[in-house]
């Protein structure tokens, strides 16, 4: 089975992330780049499916040069090879344009199953899986907490507010995963050492058959018009227990809709 895992490099959520004042896009120098956390689960699921059904796992990343760090990490977890869509003209692409660009690459390299995290920790649009499935004309199996493949049928448990739905589709398909699905493995030392030797194909817009007019900041369908720093954290509320501490806590939680 030809499994393609889409991996996005995002700024480390543990560091302070900034947007650039010049064009309201991510200031990549402001934070270390790491693999989008949910994509680690996608990689793990891709590897498990390969281990169960055979085939190959290809990492597909769209991003600037420094995203190669994340690609190498994904390869060190055990993926076989990678395709890196890298082109300055992609800078500032929004979700709609990104789905176009990645769909072009997926058409070019071919796939039975395209796996990705259900959202990224930076833009958090969460629409990529749906947009890709639409553009590629294949089923979307979203928010999977469990996956089974039987021949050309994919069955998932799709998490919902009330539990889960059982959803079924046929390959080729796009699959998005949630963190309940597995526990991502650590890269092994052998994997780390082998990663350097694994093939990473770099594609430009032209290589991938992407129309430059349909990507990039200038033609983006959505635009960040303004942004502000998060307000500094306010001092916490101290609840003094004068016999009614429990009730006060319950009130507080209820007011915040935690209970």
């Amino acid at each position: 089975m030809n499994i393609v895992v889409l991996v996005k490099q995002v700024p480390d959520t543990a560091t302070e992330r900034k947007l650039s004042a010049a064009d309201s896009t991510l200031d990549r120098a402001s934070a270390d780049g790491v693999i989008n956390e949910l994509d680690e689960y996608a990689i793990e699921e891709g590897l498990r499916l390969k281990e169960a059904h055979g085939g190959e796992v290809t990492i597909l990343t769209m991003g600037p040069d420094q995203a190669s760090d994340s690609i190498r990490k994904a390869l060190s977890m055990g993926a076989d090879k990678a395709v890196h869509l890298v082109d300055d003209a992609l800078h500032g692409s929004d979700a709609v344009q990104t789905s176009y660009a990645l769909a072009q690459v997926l058409k070019k390299i071919g796939f039975d199953l395209a796996v990705l995290g259900s959202e990224s920790t930076d833009a958090r649009t969460g629409v990529l899986a749906a947009a890709l499935a639409e553009r590629l004309g294949v089923p979307q199996l979203s928010l999977a907490s469990k996956v089974e493949i039987d021949g050309s049928t994919v069955r998932i448990q799709r998490i919902t507010d009330y539990g889960y739905d059982r959803v079924e589709g046929s390959l080729p398909a796009v699959l998005s995963v949630v963190e309940k699905i597995n526990e991502p493995r650590y890269p092994s030392f052998k994997g780390i050492m082998a990663a350097k030797k694994k093939p990473v194909e770099k594609l430009s817009l032209a290589d991938a058959g992407i129309d430059p007019a349909l990507v990039g900041l200038a033609g983006a369908t959505t635009q960040v018009v303004d942004f502000a720093d998060a307000p500094p954290r306010e001092a916490g509320t101290v609840v003094k227990d004068e016999g009614d501490g429990g009730a006060k806590l319950a009130e507080f939680l209820a007011a915040k809709k935690f209970v």
């Binding site: 480390d12 959520t13 060190s76 526990e183 092994s188 030392f189 780390i192 350097k196």
Partner: protein, 398 residues
Amino acid sequence: MANTADTPGRAGTASPLELLAVDHLLTDEEREIQATVRRFVDERIRPGVAGWFEAGTFPRELAEEFGSLGLLGMHLEGYGCAGVGAVAYGLACMELEAGDSGARSFASVQGSLAMYAIWRWGSEEQKNRWLPGMAAGELIGCFGLTEPDFGSNPAGMRTRARRDGDGWVLDGTKMWITNGSIADLAVVWARTDDGVRGFVVPTDAPGFSAPKIDRKLSLRASVTSELVLESVRVGEDALLPEARGLRGPLSCLNQARFGIVFGALGAARDCLETAIRYAADREVFDRPLASFQLTQAKLADMALELQKGFLLAMHLGRLKEAGRLDPRQVSLGKLNNVREAIVIARECRTILGANGVTLEYPVLRHANNLESVLTYEGTSEVHSLVIGQALTGHAAFA
């Protein structure tokens, strides 16, 4: 995967080793291996280690997790081992020991003593039989050299192996053997008519027992045992064919000792990071402990020694990779880095005040562990004398 940024040992005002930008001395692969072990320690060792220390246990099931990462025999080539360079091996030891010296001891004894002995001195059959399972953590090995009355002077060992038909019979007692009671195999060094020879002894052989040594105040998250061999019969295939004389076991110790040069710094770094965080949060006389000059002087001196020790370790690592490392240099590294690490751990304890003596914080646990590290794999005294001999030509220890 859990976000580990706010787990102990990670966050902090300044990471003491970042001051010198030592990252620049590492390759991408080395950084990646270090980061992987650090994350493993944060997620799999830190949460449980105080409990293991208190209970005096090392969880056997961690062995296979160590194995799947590639931590066991990582510096060996072939037979399921990862084959990483000396610096990567050192960094892994450092990160493990930032968790606990017991975790690093487990990996050292398995990889650098038991596995290395078989890898370096064993037959092809022995390597194929034992090493892949040991690399995977499915089989645990221990290494029996030290005896109750012979530590720094292994030449005096009393354990004997005598030929008996087509095999050997071993009698004797080994002491202070890490992993002994949980081991599947023991590499045992014994006196024969042909000098000191090494044997791979399955621990289920009749006459073999490995009682655990309890009531320790150090390395409590590690299993330490006595090995008792009472007429233990093994076949000829148990003999390590290539090792003759003490050179065999001493070559293994030199491997493990190299890992300690890095490892001890991990314990020290963890103490220092803890003390820096603690001093920032703790208020005395209405201001942070970190703002007092005495505290800053302590922190500065400790950071200084930690960084010097790391540069020394890196230098030895690169020498080892170039095949130019002299055992006397390892003595120098182990003497300095363990000695400084224990000073740092104790000094950090003073910054944490009374909190420092509890298992809520790692500092006294590390300090106590380092008492063992100071003594095992060559005592600090013997390492001093090795350096003394190198400088003067006089051997003062024999």
